[in-house]
Structures are given as structure tokens and as C-alpha cells.
């Protein structure tokens, strides 16, 4: 049964890729207004977890349950999850040739609002969101992610989040590939999006982003499990000491 107070909750999620278990069981509960961070070394399964929760067909969830706003989402397709209010900002967003950012954005928002719903406010909304993220207006007519730099792609992921305004956003390594100025702009965008009723799950290797977007809870994921949970200070400790000590602690604790 879902926790009535939780915005986003998943229990004992197991993820398989090509019949190989990548995540052996992860649980997390995010309340409205909370920012959580999952940190972990490369290959810890954190990207697989977020992709699986979004409904990527290559990441099979073989066990567990997940609820968004009290609704079970695992039987939903990716588009249904999106329309239910879940969002994933990708680590490596793909290019869609011939489809402009503006048309894509309009189609996505239309899908969220329902076919035939009024879209007369779109242009204004879209322009304002671009401006807030210091995205040059010319990007509106560029093809989605085609020829974009890494940083531009990340900004456009945050732009999409701002326009679609999901209840729950998972951000996968959004800070990678950003220089310091871009990092600030993107962080400001994330903070502007965040409010008392939505939730954020930051998936990241480094704590860099967390200097700008302050998490309430930090979780460390290793070998597909959350092995340690703490406050923002945990992220700082990881930054200083790396992941080895957590891994050592974990191995000791489990007697492996």
C-alpha cells in the first residue's frame, strides 16, 4: 500500500538489463517539497534505476512497486507515466532530426493537456521558459538536440521540465558537461521549478550540483543498493573522501 503522504515512492525495485540484474532492490520515499539526491560511483545502477522508473523498455523492472501520488505506475507505459507527472532529464538526450525544439515542446505539452486543449498560451510560456534559462531564441527553430553541445542539451532538458511542470522530476547527471556558468543557470532553473508540492530526485556522481541545489536527503548507491542515507553533509564527505569508505563500510556490514 502506498504511503498517503508520499509524492513518489518505490519499494524493492529490481531492474534487469539483458536478463542481468543491475539493481537488486531499492526503496525510497519522497514527500512533497523534498529534494533527494542519489549519489554513487559509475556503474552503481543509479541511471538504470531512473530509466527503469521512467519506463525505458530496455530496463525491465522484475520486482517491486512504485507509486506516484498514490497511483501505481509500473503497469503504465512511458507516455502514461509522463502524463501522470513523472519526468526524467536524460544524461545523454538524443537528437531528433527535423523536429524543432518549439514543435516538439508544443506537441509534448499538448499531449499533457489533452488533444484539442487550448494552447494559445504556449508561445508566451515557451519564450519565457527559454529566457529564464538564457537559451538563445534561435534554439526554438533548431532541431531537437541536433548539433547541440553537451551543455546546451542539458539546458534544453531543464527547459522541457519547466514547460511540462511535472510533479516529480528525476535528473540524471544533469551537471555533467556543464561549465560553471551553465551550471549556475541550470541550477537556478531547477530551484525555480522546485516548490512545496513537487519533488526532485537528483542522480549524480559528483556533489558539484548540490552546492547550488540543496538536497534534504542524500543516498549513496553502490552495486545497485542504497547503502547509506544522510543529510547534505554526506555529499560533502563523499566529495572529500570518495566512495571507497562507504563501500568498505558496506562490505563490512554485510560480511561479504
Amino acid at each position: 500500500m502506498p504511503d498517503q503522504k508520499a509524492l513518489f515512492e518505490f519499494n524493492e525495485i529490481r531492474v534487469e538489463v539483458d536478463d542481468k540484474q543491475i539493481v537488486p532492490g531499492v526503496s525510497l520515499k519522497i514527500l512533497p517539497g523534498e529534494i533527494h539526491a542519489i549519489m554513487g560511483p559509475n556503474g552503481s545502477g543509479k541511471s538504470s534505476l531512473s530509466n527503469a522508473l521512467m519506463g525505458h523498455p530496455d530496463y525491465a523492472i522484475t520486482w517491486g512497486e512504485a507509486f506516484l501520488d498514490g497511483r501505481s505506475i509500473l503497469s503504465m507505459s512511458a507516455d502514461e507515466r509522463s502524463r501522470a507527472g513523472l519526468y526524467l532529464a536524460f544524461q545523454y538526450p538524443l537528437a531528433i532530426p527535423g523536429v524543432t525544439v518549439a514543435n516538439f515542446m508544443r506537441a509534448a505539452l499538448q499531449a499533457h493537456r489533452g488533444k484539442g486543449a487550448d494552447m494559445s498560451d504556449f508561445r508566451k510560456l515557451f519564450k519565457a521558459a527559454m529566457k529564464a534559462l538564457s537559451i538563445d531564441p534561435s534554439f526554438a527553430t533548431r532541431y531537437l538536440n541536433e548539433g547541440f553541445s553537451g551543455g546546451e542539451k542539458k539546458r534544453v532538458e531543464i527547459l522541457q521540465m519547466a514547460v511540462l511542470n511535472p510533479k516529480m522530476a528525476m535528473l540524471d547527471e544533469t551537471d555533467s558537461g556543464l561549465d560553471i556558468d551553465a551550471l549556475k543557470i541550470v541550477s537556478e532553473g531547477i530551484n525555480r521549478f522546485h516548490n512545496d508540492s513537487n519533488g526532485l530526485l537528483l542522480v549524480t556522481h559528483y556533489q558539484r550540483l548540490l552546492n547550488y541545489v540543496k538536497p534534504h536527503h542524500v543516498h549513496v548507491m553502490i552495486h545497485g543498493r542504497i547503502v547509506k542515507t544522510g543529510g547534505p553533509e554526506l555529499a560533502l564527505k563523499l566529495e572529500e573522501l570518495g566512495y571507497d569508505w562507504v563501500e568498505a563500510e558496506y562490505v563490512e556490514g554485510t560480511g561479504v
Binding site: S77, D79, N103, A107, A108
Partner: protein, 477 residues
């Protein structure tokens, strides 16, 4: 796709979704003249006599019939489908009304209704300089803006062209595509009827597009329009044509010949959107000659039909001539789009660019068949060929048959061919933003077509997007 197009698409979204209801309707017609099935010298004689043609044309037709009869069917392309054409079961000439009309009010109600449903002449009022509507063998309605007439621009149906400008027609008819060129060009020459005749005087810039619309209504009908366009020195013109036919259980034949002559320093663009029902054999010969510093552009969209074989060609005859061929083909279930392009560089400092895009879906098959030839004297030439195929589903098929014959070494050649599938990853990216899988796939296909769509006048771009949407409906991954 611009916002404007998007908006127009939304406006159009209330239209019937199914080809059969939108274009597939059939009119019950009492034809003014409906000949017998099959082809022979009597049929040819009758056509020529009814049109009161000069003797040279009658003779040309008879010669052409002999050439058609003596030539074997092509041994390349989709020979299996070609062998299904039953030439004896086709009506070669049908005349729906006695006289062509220049006032829309005088067009018979049933034909008017047809073209109203197809958006003609609404489009004429909006953005065209002239329009011609052909129903079966003959042009039933024709009009042109007065100001264009005053500039000396000639835009007529081909029959009237021959009647009113016999010398011009005689000078150019069959010069770009001789009767002996291929079996189907010979057939067209024997029984041609209708089509467009355009002459743009030296230095005249026709600022609005001229349009023709071709409609086949009867079952087992053969439509053989003949189009001849002459852009005189330094002139500019854009001609557009659209085609549809209803859905019948047995096949009809569309065999057109299009000749374009672009004289020195002229510019000619020819845009086609063909959207045939799936029982049409569409076998068309289109060729242009571009003289010194002239530019010719074929913009060619092929949807529907059972089999399309069409390879728009540009012969770069004079120094500095340029040619561009941009084509798209959409091959749905049981269809074969064998389309391509040909460029012949026959003079120095010429350049050409071919861009071909195809989408195959279900068991549809799209082939690119192309020829790029550079003659020995054609030094300092540039040519580029880019083929891009998108496959939807496991059974879809695409093939490429590019031929290059380069006879000198002062040529810059670029060639690229790509085949891609609608990638799962792309679909996931779009669906993760709330689009259904069908909408996501359509967006990817529309994006793929974008380089073509953006070359079209607005109305055509809107229409093409609608047609692609129809084709995509109910498609499976």
C-alpha cells in the same frame, strides 16, 4: 514545420481521416465520350481526330504506337508488378464534358464537387496565378490571372496549347524526351491527352505558382497527360501539380510525360505531390534540359500507387547550369516506390544535387534508382547524391541502385547513403515526454521529411503532413 503549418494542420484535423472517404469517392458519370477498352491505331486516330490535331501530331501518335508495341516491357525495376498491367483492359481516352470551362460556375456539378472536395479552386483564389484541373483525359477547367496573361505568359492545357501555339509546340514537343526514349514515353506520345503547356517569355518572373490538378475517376482508366514547359531566357516560374484517384479493386494506369526546357539564365521549379490510390500504376517520364546558367529544380513527392517508377532527370546542357532534385517516397503496405533521379552533366562548370528520402512501412518497398553521368567535356563540375531511407517495422524494405559514370577527372563528387530505423531510443525519449508511441513515430517521420516539406508552399506542406499522418495511422513498430 513552421508554427503556421502546425496551426493549419490543427485546422485540418477535423477532416476525414481515411483516404477512401477523403479522396476515394467516385462520381457516377455519363461520359461525353468513352471509347472502347484497349489500344490500336483506330483509338489513336479517333483521339487525334476528336482533338482536330494537325497532321504532324497524328503521325507522331501513330509512330509512337508502333514503337510502344514493338518495345518489350522493362527488364528492371519491379518486373513482377509490371507484368500485371493489362494494357487491353484499359480505357485510353475518356472525355467527361464537351467543352472546357473557364468559369467555375459552368463546370458540371459532379466534377465541381470533386475538385471542391480536393480544395480546388479555393487554393486558386488564395495563392495561385493560374489553375488547371484535369478529369480523366481532358482538362475541364482552366483559368489564369489577367495580369499574368498581359505579361505574355502562356498557361494552357496541352490540347489548347497545340491549337493556339502550334509552332511553339512543334518546336519543342518530344525534344527532351523523344518517342523512342522508353516504352511508356511511347505509349504517352500515342495517346496523350491534357497536361499543361506553359511558356514564360524572356525576363518575366512569374511571382505566383501555376498549378494543375489531375484526377482519375473511372476504373481501368489510363491517364496520359503531357506537359511541356518552356522558360525563356532569364525568366522564372514555379509550377505545381497534385494528383489523386479513387479506390477501385482493379488497376488504373497513369503514364505522364513531362518535358521542361529552361533556356539561358532561367529558373524553373516543378513541384509534384502525387497521392494515388493503391491500385494505380504510376509510370512517369520527367526530364528537363537546362541551358547556360539556367537552374532547374524537381521537387517530387510520391505517395500511394501500387507501383511508381519515376526518375526525374535534368540534363545540364550549357555551362554554369544547375540542377537540383529533391524527392520523397512513402511506401506503405503492398506498395513499391521505385523512384530516383538522373543528372547528366554535358557542359563545363555545371553542378547538381540530388536528395532522396524514402519511408517504408509494413511490407512496403522503396528503391532509390539513380544515375549521375558526367561527360568528358563537363569539366569543373560538382555533383552530390544523398539518399536517406527510414524503415518502419521488420518487413519494410529499402534498396539503393546508384550509378555514376564520370568521364573526366575534374569533378567533385559526393555520395552518401543512409538507412535507418525509427530507433527505440528515440521513441522512448519522445514518449517519456508524454507523446503516445504513434504520435512519437509520426513526429519522427515528419522530422525525417522536413527537408522536403519546408520546400513546399504552405498549403502543400500542410497537405503532405496530413497525408503522412494518414499513412502512419495504425502502423506497428
Amino acid at each position: 514545420m513552421s508554427d503556421e503549418i502546425r496551426r493549419r494542420n490543427e485546422d485540418l484535423s477535423s477532416l476525414d481521416k481515411d483516404y477512401a472517404t477523403r479522396y476515394g469517392f467516385q462520381d457516377p458519370v455519363n461520359y461525353f465520350h468513352k471509347g472502347a477498352r484497349g489500344i490500336n491505331h483506330e483509338v489513336v486516330e479517333m483521339i487525334s481526330r476528336m482533338k482536330k490535331e494537325p497532321a504532324w501530331m497524328t503521325e507522331r501518335r501513330h509512330e509512337a504506337l508502333d514503337i510502344f508495341s514493338s518495345r518489350p516491357m522493362p527488364k528492371w525495376g519491379n518486373t513482377e508488378m509490371l507484368s500485371k498491367i493489362d494494357f487491353d483492359n484499359i480505357y485510353y481516352f475518356m472525355k467527361p464534358i464537351e467543352h472546357q470551362q473557364t468559369s467555375w460556375d459552368d463546370v458540371p456539378e459532379y466534377i465541381k464537387k470533386t475538385f471542391d472536395r480536393l480544395g480546388i479552386p479555393e487554393a486558386e483564389r488564395k495563392f495561385l496565378g493560374g489553375v488547371s484541373a484535369q478529369y480523366e483525359s481532358e482538362v475541364v477547367y482552366h483559368s489564369m490571372r489577367e495580369d499574368l496573361k498581359k505579361q505574355g505568359i502562356i498557361f494552357l492545357d496541352m490540347d489548347s496549347g497545340l491549337r493556339e501555339h502550334p509552332d511553339l509546340v512543334r518546336k519543342y514537343f518530344g525534344t527532351v524526351i523523344p518517342t523512342t526514349d522508353n516504352k511508356f514515353a511511347a505509349l504517352n506520345t500515342a495517346v496523350w491527352s491534357g497536361g499543361s503547356f506553359i511558356y514564360v517569355p524572356p525576363g518575366i518572373d512569374v511571382k505566383v505558382p501555376l498549378q494543375a490538378y489531375f484526377r482519375i475517376n473511372a476504373e481501368n482508366m489510363g491517364q496520359f497527360e503531357r506537359t511541356l514547359i518552356i522558360a525563356d531566357k532569364g525568366s522564372r516560374v514555379h509550377y505545381i501539380e497534385g494528383c489523386t484517384a479513387p479506390v477501385y479493386s482493379t488497376d488504373s494506369l497513369h503514364t505522364a510525360v513531362v518535358e521542361v526546357i529552361a533556356l539561358e539564365d532561367s529558373y524553373m521549379r516543378y513541384t509534384t505531390i502525387q497521392n494515388w490510390s493503391r491500385n494505380i500504376f504510376n509510370l512517369v517520364t520527367k526530364r528537363a534540359s537546362a541551358y547556360d546558367n539556367a537552374t532547374v529544380e524537381w521537387v517530387d513527392g510520391n505517395l500511394g500507387s501500387r507501383l511508381t517508377m519515376k526518375y526525374p532527370c535534368i540534363q545540364l546542357m550549357g555551362p554554369g547550369a544547375k540542377g537540383e532534385i529533391l524527392s520523397v517516397a512513402f511506401a506503405g503496405k503492398d506498395q513499391h516506390q521505385d523512384a530516383g533521379a538522373k543528372v547528366i552533366h554535358a557542359a563545363p562548370n555545371t553542378s547538381s544535387r540530388i536528395r532522396s528520402k524514402s519511408v517504408s512501412k509494413d511490407n512496403g518497398r522503396a528503391s532509390y534508382r539513380g544515375l549521375a553521368k558526367v561527360h568528358k567535356n563537363a569539366v569543373n563540375t560538382k555533383l552530390s547524391v544523398e539518399c536517406d531511407a527510414l524503415l518502419i517495422g521488420e518487413e519494410a524494405r529499402s534498396d539503393t541502385y546508384p550509378t555514376m559514370e564520370v568521364d573526366n577527372d575534374q569533378v567533385k563528387v559526393e555520395h552518401e547513403a543512409r538507412v535507418s530505423k525509427v530507433a527505440e531510443e528515440q521513441l522512448f525519449y519522445l514518449t517519456s515526454r508524454g507523446l503516445t508511441e504513434d504520435d512519437a513515430r509520426l513526429l519522427i517521420v515528419n522530422g525525417f521529411m522536413e527537408p522536403f516539406t519546408k520546400e513546399l508552399p504552405l498549403e502543400y506542406a500542410v497537405e503532405l503532413n496530413r497525408l503522412i499522418e494518414l499513412e502512419m495511422e495504425g502502423s506497428i513498430g
